[in-house]
Symmetry: C2
Subunit: 147 residues, 2 copies
DNA sequence: ATGAAAAAGCAACATTGTTGCAAAATATTT
DNA sequence: AAATATTTTGCAACAATGTTGCTTTTTCAT
């Protein structure tokens, strides 16, 4: 498969994803969505600004990420360093409602963040009086590529 | 017990904690440590600035929090809203090394963050190639006081 | 009490995130 | 295909958050 074909395949994948979520197809949305699709790990706002190649206004990036989160295209990953990361949702997420039950992994070496889609979040037994709506698990350690 | 006695008790508790960690006893350290001791939940940087009553420079608050984290007096709690929260460590933490294996709970109603010290983080079975160093669990839902 | 060391405060700056509005691009209708 | 309505973008200005170097003040040990 030629590079040209790869590009056009990605391009139509992006277009479909946007259409499916009733979003108009614009340069910034396509570019940002492509970044996520090309990428194994999660991306922070800053990463996106850098990789988009100074082509888009910061405000646009903020708004685009927010739109994607709202539509259930990407989800946030909590961190302890004040830089929210975003990653693509698997296709079961819908507008206003995320269904991500996988855990996240942050590598101490390469500092990439991965969604481990095959590892589901465990049941947590809470003390009396507490009700769980959502469980987030972030494991920190050394990833596959850095071991 | 009079209010006066309560205050002096808290005061000496704070002093001891600082001494134990070989930190010099200063106004800002005492005040910030007191805030944590008086408080059930976790505090974000912003909370501390507000509650300290505009008495301390922002830089001092940043540096004090960093010092406390380094010494193992407080630990950070990851969030998905770009505002790291801090909470007191139970006494088993030492300089440069935190041993917190409890989970954290964020209330969707009052938005307080609690350390549930009695709920330990579960074992997570990772895919081949990944090594865990630390596991963070944040449960979001409705807390005891808001149910 | 004195001097050395540590911390606080200040100023200046860098980065990150937000809001309102005008211009541009996209989608829709005819 | 062109005109219009709608949505999105970019810009500007601003607010909030975080950082660094340096001077003054406070704390601690002698």
């Amino acid at each position: 498969m030629s590079a040209q074909q790869t590009i056009s395949r990605l391009d139509s994948q992006v277009n479909e994803l946007l259409k499916k979520n009733s979003l108009s197809i614009t340069g910034s949305r396509k570019k940002i969505l492509q970044l996520f699709l090309e990428q194994t790990g999660a991306l922070a706002h800053g990463d996106i600004e850098k990789r988009a190649g100074e082509k888009f206004d910061r405000v646009t990036v903020y708004r685009t990420l927010q739109t994607f989160v709202d539509k259930g295209i990407i989800h946030t990953i909590p961190t302890a360093d004040n830089s929210i990361r975003y990653a693509l949702c698997k296709d079961q997420c819908s507008e206003g409602h995320h269904h991500d039950h996988h855990i996240h992994f942050v590598c101490n070496n390469c500092s990439n963040t991965y969604c481990l889609d095959d590892v589901v979040t465990p049941e947590i037994k809470l003390p009396k009086g507490y009700t769980a709506a959502h469980v987030e698990v972030v494991v920190e350690g050394v990833c596959k590529n850095c071991k």
